[in-house]
Symmetry: C2
Subunit: 270 residues, 2 copies
Amino acid sequence: MNFIRALRQRWQRNNTLVCVGLDPEPAKFPAHLRDRPDAVFEFCRAIVDATADAACAFKPQIAHFAALGAEDALFRLIAHVHLAHPGLPVILDSKRGDIGSTANNYAIEAFDRYGADAVTVNPYLGRDSAQPFLDHADKGVVVLCRTSNPGSGEFQDLLADGRPLYQHVAQRVAHEWNANGNCLLVVGATWPAELAQVRALAGNLPFLVPGVGAQGGDVEAVVKNGATRDGTGLVISSSRAILYAGDGPDFADAAGNAAHELRDQINRYR
Amino acid sequence: MNFIRALRQRWQRNNTLVCVGLDPEPAKFPAHLRDRPDAVFEFCRAIVDATADAACAFKPQIAHFAALGAEDALFRLIAHVHLAHPGLPVILDSKRGDIGSTANNYAIEAFDRYGADAVTVNPYLGRDSAQPFLDHADKGVVVLCRTSNPGSGEFQDLLADGRPLYQHVAQRVAHEWNANGNCLLVVGATWPAELAQVRALAGNLPFLVPGVGAQGGDVEAVVKNGATRDGTGLVISSSRAILYAGDGPDFADAAGNAAHELRDQINRYR
């Protein structure tokens, strides 16, 4: 699958900008699942199946699997998405970044080992560190720009030539790193003014926007400040507010409802 | 073990600033090992045992293990270092960085799952993203500052308030993030002038210096520009030039010789 094409198809045919973040935390699983030997996979698979028709992408966060030693569950989960929901792309959220020879191994990890369709990367090391990802023209390369955390401005807001660092990143990624047309930028929903600034610099580049839901980002401001003219251009990611919407036997239905509500809420402002 | 204390002990008692980088690439393994089922572990263990007395630290690079699905070999390798070479610290080179709740899972990955004594982290997201690592006062937090790759200047050299970004990182890490006394900075051997600038800003903070050997960094310039007044302060990392010094049955001896030569070469300039 070509990631950007798959994303656009989901935006249009399924009329949704919602990305479901898969951050498994066994302590929050419903009691009937918690002690099962394959709980991480079973929980995530149930969420995937309940939310797929409201989603334009899934975003498993690799640290949550790594902390549990659950590499195998992550592999099977991504395979399940591809098999059960063809055309629905998977963004591996790993925020990798390293020098050339090592970055190539991270590209192998994301694309060959796990079969992800896109990966998040950190820009601090510069373009050559992202090149092994960028060279996979069919894969999405989602570059951190203005992150959703409260302290993101410490370096990202430093002014160089009158412009904050995150805008330099946006400019370079949109106009240089994007030679294969496969780049996206991460801009947190918690920073609506910055989102508008990045949109002004980045043309129609798609944005991955975390931070609605548990982190408190405002959906209306995200859509008004971040969408492209055709009302798309956004991959609005919610994790905890969907995953843990319910904690009983019907947790998957609760997650499905939360994902559909977020889709509808977003669509009201498009 | 307290990482910084262990490092200082190795610098002094073993009189070495050499860090052996463990970047397994099976295609480069000696023929007699290549097809063995546990080749990654066996290769790395042989390197560890042959180089330990010339090393102040080991630095496994996690992407090389992740690309091979070799998490178990990485776990056993770190356990082997601790068991066979007590007091010799292990830096997990994973360059992690994410927002609070996720960063905590990366800290669990590095310190609880793998038992590493230190971890490399990316500063782009700001201090709150590093806090779960910094809070482990006994563990080392090795923050990217001026990386060794050719394109590292793309963002790291952007001038803010008349100073390049990497110097802002050095300043913040040395004087704010280092509240627990457990921070280090990464400065590439390929940038000797920048190394001197960072030393001027960072007091006696230890530096992890990759880029000698295969990447071409000059040892004399690294020691002259980077060492503290007592001739320490540096963790000079070499990977390929040690690991693949030989490719025959005596590969471990060749690696041991290469590590000892690098130690002696460094010590000539201290």
